[in-house]
Symmetry: C2
Subunit: 305 residues, 2 copies
């Protein structure tokens, strides 16, 4: 019979695109992955992959198997979750992942809450971007991810994941206090058409570009920085403006002001929790998700008040 580990390798291969990348994600050598795939192909009784240049492409049979692999792995996760409810509560290390700005307001408080609540959970928090969150979640490197979905992210009903809306992180225009727009109560995005922009790190930059495009102009981006504090420093020196989510604190930059964007609801980035499908029932994961939701509620309430 088949080892679900082989199916898992197969799924990671599809997600990563190459044997080498899959091997890296699984902490294996490319050779091992290659052999596992051959064995899977033998046990499935069909060719799953075919050479495509210097990489591999899934055959029709491979794509068929992939669908079943998702179902099988989810079913196994469900089984594990249900078993964990019936057995003795064992100590569990939960690996939480999130984008940089989510750690301070969300993941760190939740990890602390879980520890104080006496849950038999040891939380490990890691910072990553959206893409890696999905990949490592699939490769079982993380158990829970807090992320902002991108246009190429798996859809909410993806068979491999279980994703839930956590909160909407509202975006404000951030400008120096002496900026022409600083005194406004709200500002329309179109009013910034002539402004120069600071482009934040990759994930967020794409969102800003999409919003400006929707508002009818292409943002004139000059400077670029991955770190929000660097972005804010650039804004503070009058080098441009930027849209900054409210999870990013401006406390370190007294010379800057947030100008809310017009619209109801105002433009925001959606923040989701994501776990492997089937695993959301596991006690440790369920507890962490609940704590995350609760914390997200507090954050939202604080912003409103």
């Amino acid at each position: 019979m088949v080892d679900l580990g082989l199916l898992q390798t197969f799924r990671v291969l599809e997600e990563q695109g190459t044997v080498t990348a899959a091997a890296h994600a699984l902490n294996l050598s490319p050779s091992a992955v290659s052999q596992q795939l051959r064995q899977l192909s033998r046990q499935a009784g069909a060719a799953l992959l075919e050479p495509d240049g210097r990489r591999l492409r899934l055959t029709v049979a491979g794509r068929v198997l992939l669908g079943h692999a998702d179902v099988l792995c989810a079913q196994w996760e469900t089984a594990r979750a249900e078993l964990a409810q019936h057995g003795a509560p064992a100590r569990r290390t939960l690996r939480l992942a999130g984008f940089a700005t989510s750690i301070g307001p969300l993941l760190a408080p939740v990890a602390g809450t879980l520890a104080r609540a006496g849950e038999p959970i040891q939380a490990i928090v890691t910072e990553t971007d959206t893409r890696n969150s999905y990949q490592q979640l699939l490769a079982e490197g993380f158990d829970i991810a807090v992320l902002t979905p991108l246009s190429d992210s798996p859809p909410t009903d993806d068979a491999r994941f279980h994703q839930e809306h956590l909160l909407d992180d509202v975006l404000d225009l951030v400008v120096p206090a002496d900026h022409a727009l600083a005194a406004r109560g709200t500002v329309d995005l179109a009013a910034t058409e002539r402004a120069t922009w600071i482009s934040p790190h990759h994930d967020q930059g794409r969102l800003i570009h999409a919003l400006c495009t929707a508002a009818g102009f292409a943002p004139h981006t000059v400077h670029h920085a991955d770190d929000w504090q660097a972005v804010l420093a650039l804004v503070r020196h009058g080098l441009g403006v930027c849209l900054v989510p409210r999870l990013v604190s401006l406390d370190a930059h007294p010379g800057l002001v947030r100008v809310p964007l017009a619209g109801s609801p105002p433009p925001s980035r959606r923040i989701l929790t994501c776990v492997r499908r089937g695993s959301s029932g596991e006690p440790a994961i369920a507890a962490a998700l609940t704590a995350l939701r609760e914390r997200a509620g507090q954050v939202s309430a604080a912003r409103v008040g």
Copy 2:
């Protein structure tokens, strides 16, 4: 991750009742099965079994896992079946099992038909009883079984199997030609209350006992024989009567006559096909099932005419 083989072992253990029996059914040593179960328990993260005298009993967690194991294995069978439809048609050895009387009219003709039809199938026919059919089907010793369900057989909606009605094998009272009931057009079962009975082999004997009980009397069984030809020989020598399904030929016993039983439909034994759930879509299995249904139709039509 988990090997489905371990879940398979776990399922066979449940079906067989003891580690030793499961090991025998899987062609393994009891020690190997014991170790596999330990590994499964470790990977499931819960105790699945607990000692119960000199045998094992499933824990609550074990019973939970068992349900998931059935689903997982069926899902894998489905995947295999669907893959076999997309890949190149490979040579396949199909292992068919059936009770003794089913082989002549059903399994042997079907095996011949499949061979002549040019299907890439090598059929292997084995005779067994109902209980072993289910067990070997689960242990992957057989692929298709033709059987008569008993009171302790898995129900039709059992998660592990896919069972289909094949035909109803009508039962007749068989008596010597000079018997008092021989000349009747039909006979009510109650009319045989004072007769002495020949008890056929175990499976069939239970059915006869149940029918007589339903008719209001306990059959007075004197002789016993597993083989139908032996039963008929006993009847021929005036030692008793018996209910004999029509699949059993009386050709070798000119001195005997069938007296149809009253009732519409008349008493009969249900004959089912049984395969592992999910496997019925596999081309080879689907072809064999179709051939079986067709052959069963011919048999039924011949009996009617």
